[in-house]
Every structure is written in C-alpha cells, then in structure tokens.
Amino acid sequence: MSRIGLNTGLKALLAAQYALNTVGQNIANASTPGYSRQRVELAASHPLRQRGLMLGNGVEVRGITRTIDQLLERRILGQIQVGGSLAAQLGTAQEIEGLFGEPGGFGLGGAIDGLFAGFNQLAGNPADPILRTAAVQAGVDLASRFSQLDKSLTNLEGEVGRELGILAQQVNQIAHAVAGLNGEISQAEAAGLEANDLRDQRQELLKNLASLADINTQEDETGAVRVLVAGNVLVNRETSRTMSIDRDPSGKPRVAIQGVGGFVPLQGGRMGGLLNLRDGFVPGLLTRIDGLAKNLILAVNRIHSQGIPEGGPFQSLIGTNEIVDLDKDGDLKDELLSRSGLPFDISSGDFYVNVVESSTGTLAKHKISIDAAKTTVGDLLGAFDKIPNLTGSLDAFGRLQIIADAGFGFDFSSRVDTMPDSKGTFGSSKAAVGGSLAGPFAVQPGDDLQLAVPGGPGSTLVNVAFEATDFANPAKATAAEVAAALNADSGFQASGLVAESVDGRLFLLTAGAGPSESFELVGGSAATALGLGAKVGSTFTGTLGAVAPTIAGAYTGTSTDQLVFVPSGDGTIGTTPDLSVDVFNSKGELVKTLLVGDGYQPGQALDLGDGLTVSFHLGELSATDADRMTLDVVGNSDNTDTLVALGLNGYFVGSDAASIAVRKDIESNPGLLAASSTGAEGDNRILLALLGVEDLRIAGLDGATLGEAYGGLIGDVGFEVAAVASGAEASNKVLESLELRRESISGVNVDEELVDMVRFEQAFAGASQLIRVINELHDELLRIL
C-alpha cells in the first residue's frame, strides 16, 4: 500500500477509535449524574495535491461535542437554588412543628389547659393542700413549656448559625474546585482540545453550589465561569474567594465573602432557606410566643395580685420586678413610674391598699392615684408612707417593698369593709352627733366650738378655737381638716371626745360607749358653719346596744363607688315601725331602701346588690343626730396595672416566654396562692376569676382568647410547614421535569444508542451500496468520454 493509502487508512482508524471511545464513554457514563452525551463529528479530510493529482486524504474527526442546552442548564441551576432553600426551610419548619408537640396534648396548649384545670379543681375546695399544690405545679409546668419552647427556638437560631458555618465550608471547597476546573478548561480549550468531561464536572459542582446558595454564573471567552453569590463574586477564572460566617452587631451569624464589604443577603439555596427561617419565621414565632406568655402573665397577675393568700393579709411583700435608673443619676425615686423599666405598662387611674388591724379585723381602704404622665417612684413611696401602719421603700435591687406595722396586715383586694361603722357614727353605743351639712365649710380664723363633758362638780367646758393654719383654705375647710384640728387640740383630747369626718360631714362623739357617755354642744361661732347650729344646747348620750352594721359577701359590681347609709328617722332596729335605712351612691342617687324597723329581725342579712348583704343589730338609729356611715365598693382595686408592673402578689414572674415562672415563694409554699378575694375561709372568688382568663378576650392578643391565640399560632406553624412542603414538592417536580428534559437532550440511553447504531449501520450500508452502483455506472460512462 502506498504512503498515501497508509495515511488515509490510519486516519480512518483514528476516527474510528475516537468514535468508539466516545460511544464507550457515553455508555459507561449512562448513569453518571450530570454527564452530557458526547458525539463525534466525522468529515472527509481536505484532499492532497501531489504531482498534479488531487489525492483523497481519508476521514478525520472534526470534534467531539457535548450535547447540552445552555438555557436549560441555567434553569436547572435556578431551580436547584429554589429547591435547596425550600428543603432547608421544610426540615427546620417540621422540626419547629415538632417542638409544639401538637396534636398530642403534650404541648403548650395542653399545659395552658392544665393550668386552668388546676384552678378549676382547686376552686372546688380551696383549702385542699393537695389541690393547691397541683394548681401551682400546673403553673410550673406551663412556665416550663414556655421556657422549653423559647429555648428550643432560640437554640434553633444557634444551630442555624452552626449549619451555616458548615455549609460555608462546603461552598468554599466547591468554589475552589470550580476555580481549578476553570483553569484546566481554559488551558485545554486554548490548546484546541475539547474539555467536555471537565465541563460536565464543573457543571455538577455548580449544581451542588446552587443547592447551597443563590448563585449566578457567567462564562467568559476562555471557557471559565464567573460565579456570583447574591451579586458578589465568589469565583473569577482560577481564583475563588472565601465565604465565612461572621456575626452582625446583634450577634446573629451572617454570610460574608472575603473582599466584599458588609454581609451577603442570601435568598436561595440551603443557606438562603436557613437564613429566611432564622430571620423571618423563627423570630416571628418567638415574638408571638412571647406575646402569649406576656399576656398570660398580665391577665393572671391582674387577678392574682388582688387576691388574698391562705394565711390572710400580708405583713410584708416585695415586688418581683426591678425599677431601673433610666436617667442614670443614681436615684430611682425621680424615675417616672410609668417609664421606670418595668416590664408592663402603667396607666393613669387608682389602686387600693387595704390595711387591716389583725386583732379587730378593722379594714381601712386607701386609694393611691396614679397619673402616668406625672407620678414618680418617689410619689408612689410617699403615697405608701401616708397610709397609716404601712411603709413603702425600695430594696437594694430597686424592688418595691411594703411592710405593715406589727398587728396590721395589708392586701390589694377589692373586698369591702365588713364593719363599716368602725368610727361609730351610725347607731353606735357612743354619744354622737353629726353635722347636717357637708363641707367645705367657711370657717374664719378665731372661730370656735364649745363643748361640755361631764366632770368635776358639774361639767368641763372645752373650747376649741380654729386657726388659719388648720386649713388649706379656711373659706373652704373640709370636714377632715376640722376633725383633725379638733383632735389635735389638747383640751379636746383631754375631754375624751373624738371628731370624725364621714361623707364630708363633721361628727363629734365620745371615745367610750354606753349610756354613761355624754357631752353637750354648748355653742361657738363655728357651730352654724359646720352644720351643728341646730344642735347647740343639746346633750348627746350613749346607748346600750350598737347597730354595728355588718357587711357580708364580695362585691361583684364593676364600678367603684362610695355608698352612704342614712336612717330615715329615729328608732330602734327591729322595733320602730317604718324605720328604714336609705342607701345612696356617690351621685346622691337612692340605691336601696332597707327596712330595719318593726318586722326586721336584727342580724338578718339584707340584700345590698352586687353580691353584698348587710345586717343590723339591735340598736338605735337617729336621723335627728345625723347618723351616717359610708361603705367603699371597688370594682377593680387596680385599674392602673401598677401591682402587675411592680410584681406585687403576682402568680407568675417574668414578662416573656423565656422568663415566665411561678413565683418562687408560691412554688415552695402553695398556701401563698391567693385564691380568695375576701380572705374568708372557703372563698374561691379569685380562682373563679382566674378561670375566666381562659375565655377572656385579650387586647394584647388582638382580642383573641389565649386558646384562640395559641390555636392561631399552631395553625400558622402548620400552614407554614404545609406551604413550604407544597412549595418543595412543586419545586422538586419542576426540577424533575427539567432534569428529564436535560436527560432527553444530554443524557445517554444505552438501548437508544444501540438502536441508533444499528440504524446508522444500515443507513451507511445502504449508502455504500448505492455509491458502488454509481461508481459502476460512471465507469461505463467514462469509458466513452
């Protein structure tokens, strides 16, 4: 064979070898992920001209090309990013769903139900120590569930940070490998070689990268790809930058790329998905769980703070929340109470403090008014100091501490004074007279009041002259100022008389009780002004029995008022025909008329309305001597939330899911659970009110009940999981579809390859046969030319 013939044959063999290798490569990689089918391009070589002859030069391989669709590859990369993001979100969202433990009754919902079930059981027998402990334990369990949930969600944030770190390392490894392949591809293609396999490897790496972060790729003229992550260069030709996880000023891990200022806002890929969850869904959940805990604490403590524990009123109490020195001047007292760093808002209004004398049960109700814009911590302490037998102060931590004098206790309940005539101005056995007029009175400095009490050979004259300093405004002197001026006078004190102020009127009465007690109103220039003019010259004598009105029950009304009891005439309880007691509200409206004359059995309870009854004992009432008493009824003994904000007598401490807990001293001594609103044995009104919290529509929860708010939260978590799952499923289907399309374009099907080969073989055989015929025809024709 000639040299030309040998060369031509060699080329044919080489072409055959290339083609064989290529098909073998295709078949061997039929199941290799990301492999793109390759094909050999055969063509006749250019003929050689030699000694005037055009010599055929055989067949040669023009190239081995990858069968790919660039647009499709880009779409696959984009879809992988979406899928990666959704897969990361789905895994974490399902984990979060599991944290709630719903359905199954072991989650927060079950614990909330458990708390109210505990209150409900205890309400049936408030004195049962086992039920009391169970009710407290239910609160501990609920607080624990809140804390666990908060901790788990917070830990999840930390875990996301750690996972981001691991994923960033993977990104760096892939980016480094892509940069290396860029170099190899550029080098190979610059040398005129096809870098098909390297390109497939790189494409597979880019897919892995896309599953981690949202990337964008651009191929340059050298065949190298530039990889951008959220618009920032990660790989440029043969160089890759390092991705790292740094913390932002709030301490949250964020994605950073070497040489790029600030943080990279990833959206896609697994990292983007984790960041989306961490920055959106998880904080949203934490906020809602915190809101749920805060509103639960607020609602329960509002009620519990007005309750009375098993042992009765407090001798001392320390708030659980600390006042903060916001202006940093070292003085807590100048802080505005409503802006003193307390965890709950304080609004304008009043709250009441009851001071009870332990030995007698005498209750004094004291109102403390709060102006949210003005009242300072110092003002509040001052208000406590003004309450007899009570001291308010701040401890070393800035917590309010209240201490009662020995023999006294205090509480913040809305209970009423069960013995409202402690002053003895309403049918007591003391000698007494009241003014017919209510203050303010126009008293001139120098005006006086003259009284005579038995003593010595006849009687002792007591003359009290008023001074300008006795009154804030002498022209508008109050009954309390007049009474205080009288009681301060040494002569008056020595006479055994006492002055009292009741319903704005001045009362004069003896300190002792019984028929032996008496005094005479002699006169004086102030008598008329004080409404005592008609009584000048009269002598007032004590009686044997006292009416001693007694209040029972608990006030169920919502309004706060002062009821005034006034007898309709003079007479004896249960004896005098038509004797009645009129009850007026503070507007002067007649609320009730109580028939206490003939036919009334002394001691019989008469309905006052709003859950209260009153009973009168055998004694005498005198309209003539202006008998009168008042009864304070309080609908809400704290409409300012001062008690909750200060943490006074709360059931829970804390202010959010992380800090909620049952008050430590209640946990160790369940008797401190304030079940009663009156302190009476068996009273469960606070527990009943606490049960109402379950159905209470709470403004802080957008008008939802606790159950509804929690149900909404669970529903939203479930919806999020379902939405992400649905999105992930849809994304997977799209990706499958794209991969199928890619497979149909770039994939290798061994059967098809074989069928194709047979078809080609037959086609080439047919072509060869025909060419032989043509050659023969032309041989014949050329013979005659």
Binding site: A44, L55, V59, G766, S768, L785
Partner: protein, 170 residues
Amino acid sequence: MNPKLEAPRDLPLSARAHNIVRRLEAWVQEEIGAKRRLIELLEVQEAAMSDSDAETLVSATRSVSEAIQGEPTRAHTRHELLSALAREWGTSERALTLGGIGLRMGASGQRIARLRGELTQACEQALARGRRIALVAQAQRAVLNEMLNAIVGSKHEEQEGRGALLDAQA
C-alpha cells in the same frame, strides 16, 4: 487519445451521420443535467452522514437512488446512437468515444467536444463526491461494527463493499 478514432479531417460526412451526432449531443446534454442533479443529492447525502440522524441519511440515500433510476434508459439511448453511428462509419461501437466523434466531425464537432468536456467534469465531480461518501460510510460502519460487536457480542459482518479510499484525477 485512442488512435483508432482518428480520421482525416476532410472526410465527407453523410447527412445521416450528422443527424446521429446531433441526437448524440442532445443525449449528452441530458446526461450532464442528470449528473448535476446527482451531485447535488450526493452533497445532501454527505451532509446527512455528519448528522446524528439516521432518518436524514436514509432519506438522502433514497433521493440518490431515485435520481439514478433514469440511468438505464439513458444508457440504452446512448447505446442505440453509438451503434447507429458505428454502422454509418463502418466501425465498432466500442471504438467510438465522444472525443473521437468530435475530431471526426471536424469544425461541426466543436459542440459535442465542448459538451464532452462538461460531461467529463460532471462525472468526475459525482465520482469524487461518491468516493468521499464511501470513505465516510466505510469509517462509520467500521466504528459501528466494532461497537456492536463489543456490546451485542456477535460478529457483525460487513455485507457491502467498501468505498474507494483513493480519489485520483488525471
């Protein structure tokens, strides 16, 4: 040139011979047209061989096959005309070539001589194209047979002859 075909230039030609030569010229023209169409189809076929689509190749081969269907008819016409001219000139048909006929015709043979050149060129082009196709087909078949043998495991004997590897032109 075949010396047997040379004839004195002043040899008188019969009107019948003139008539046959004119008809021969018409045949040559038809043959040139057929060859040019064949060349076009062969170009399509060669291109089809580079594609990965066997259907295209089969279709192109079928077109070529249809194009050469008229060859026998034209060969018969050629044979009749050359036989008649051989009888007229008292020579053997196998001694006649278009080149020789042109020479014998003298000045009136210029046209057939020109047509003969065009036909020669068309034939050579068709042959060259055919040989290239045969070359590629042979290489492709060799590859395919190797692969089929390797994959299917049976000897895939080549059934058809090979195309020429050498394309030479005088």
